[in-house]
């Protein structure tokens, strides 16, 4: 389930995001975090 932080809508499904990135030709920002979600 995507979550919003400020105006960023985060995906938590990397594989789906990679599929989307390939289709859109956009890159991915992958954030490994320990911050509260």
């Amino acid at each position: 389930m995507p979550t919003a932080s400020s105006s960023i809508t985060w995906s938590h499904d990397f594989d789906s995001a990679l599929t989307q990135a390939r289709a859109s030709k956009r890159g991915i920002l992958l954030d490994f975090t320990a911050a509260p979600m």
Partner: protein, 149 residues
Amino acid sequence: MYSDRRVARFISEQLEPVRVHVREQKDEYRRLSERYNAQWTPTILILDSEGQERHRIEGFLPVDDFLPQVALGVAKSAFQRQEYADAERRYREIVDKFSSTDAAAEALYWAGVSKYKASGDASALKATSTAFRERYQDTIWAKKASVWE
């Protein structure tokens, strides 16, 4: 970092943002941290559209340093795609907008390389070396560019 409007806007416009939490997504965190050798949080990777790492940010940065680092990753992705004119434009934008950050010197170096790759004209490298005589003299990027004198 992400609550800053400039950061949020840039990321939303340029990238697919994915967040993996060390405790709340243990299996996914283990899988992806092994794949990308991420051993600390925060680690932020800028990946190209095929999932290849193009830039790495380890540890917290203030917004004014974080944003140009993300922009560096996007510019490096353009460079890797051999879209050199676009890469040069992106690198020069970092130099212009974030001139006092560590990212600026690296961007100045790669802007010169991008221009050279696009044109084949070695004067782009000499001009970059000359530019480093006026700014960022104490950086490793100035040392790297010094060979182009």
